[in-house]
């Protein structure tokens, strides 16, 4: 009886934790995934898969990183897995030639020239650079957290980020 009660209690706590996590991180996670996979429908699928994995993984979360870092790591893995499934030739070391073309139906009609130029600048980045740049630039995640999310060395993360930032700035400076 005591065991059954404890199990129910644990289950309820797990559901409460999950609901809290969903409430706090859902929107932000959607936008991060959206910037990686670009298309809304794709982001929707990746987002759902991510949350289902989070739900099942939450009772086993060991607290080796912060909960939000763990969450972003799952989201990133899901996004990369999705992109690989969709594009068998997908590699993080190459530029995605379809990046800007994909945006045609994804950007608001009233988006200004600066937005278009910004996306063109992102399109000049290699896939891995773009993912990393997006994570740091928009989400303000620390380099240490990024190294955990992306499974990369902190120095590598810094190098790639500054290189990407330099490329984006140079493109915008030239085009605007």
């Amino acid at each position: 009886m005591a065991i059954a009660l404890s199990f129910t209690q644990q289950k309820t706590n797990h559901e409460l934790d999950f609901n809290q996590l969903l409430e706090n991180h859902h929107d932000r996670l959607y936008w991060t995934i959206r910037k990686w996979v670009v298309c809304h429908e794709d982001a929707k699928d990746v987002l759902q898969n991510t949350w289902i994995k989070v739900y099942h993984g939450l009772p086993h979360f060991r607290g080796e990183s912060t909960l939000s870092t763990w969450l972003y790591r799952i989201a990133y893995n899901e996004s990369v897995r999705f992109l690989k499934k969709k594009r068998p030739y997908f590699t993080l070391d190459e530029i995605d030639p379809t990046y800007y073309a994909k945006l045609a139906n994804e950007i608001n009609a009233d988006a200004g020239e600066i937005t278009h130029q910004f996306h063109r600048a992102l399109g000049q980045l290699k896939e891995g650079e773009r993912h990393l740049f997006t994570l740091k630039y928009e989400e303000e995640i620390t380099f240490e957290e990024m190294s955990t999310i992306l499974s990369l060395n902190v120095n590598t993360v810094k190098t790639v980020y500054y290189r990407a930032e330099k490329k984006v700035k140079a493109y915008l400076k030239q085009s605007l």
Binding site: F18, N19, L22, E23, H26, D27, R28, Y30, W31, R34, K35, H40, K44, L47, Q48, W51, I52, Y55, T66, S68, T69, N105, E106, I107, N108, A111, G112, T115, F118, H119, E138, E139, E140, I141, T142, E145
Partner: protein, 105 residues
């Protein structure tokens, strides 16, 4: 992590009400669903139940059936008739019946 409100969100288009709807859908997907019993399972349960009833009835029948006493005359007759040919069967039966008749008081 600091929470930064992005104004543009890269100017990506998103359907109205999607974010709230998505949260509801995710909660529905992860909430424990009622267990569904498949027909195969039902058939299995029914078959097991029938076997159990059959076994219980068999047990009660063997308890209620009276034990038959062996009749040595019938046993001998049956053993004898198994060893002889058809044409001698009538003769053996006649002798056996006659002997039995004579033994009776």
């Amino acid at each position: 992590m600091k929470q930064k409100k992005s104004i543009s969100q890269y100017d990506f288009r998103v359907p109205d009400g999607f974010l709230a709807e998505s949260k509801t859908q995710i909660l529905q997907r992860v909430s424990p669903s009622k267990p569904t019993i498949h027909f195969r399972v039902l058939w299995g349960v029914a078959a097991s139940f029938l076997l159990l009833i059959g076994w219980m009835m068999q047990g009660s029948l063997s308890e209620n059936t009276p034990v038959l006493k062996e009749d040595p005359f019938v046993t001998d007759l049956l053993l004898d008739t198994l060893l002889i040919e058809d044409e001698k069967l009538d003769e053996v039966l006649a002798i056996a019946l006659l002997d039995e008749f004579e033994k009776q008081p």
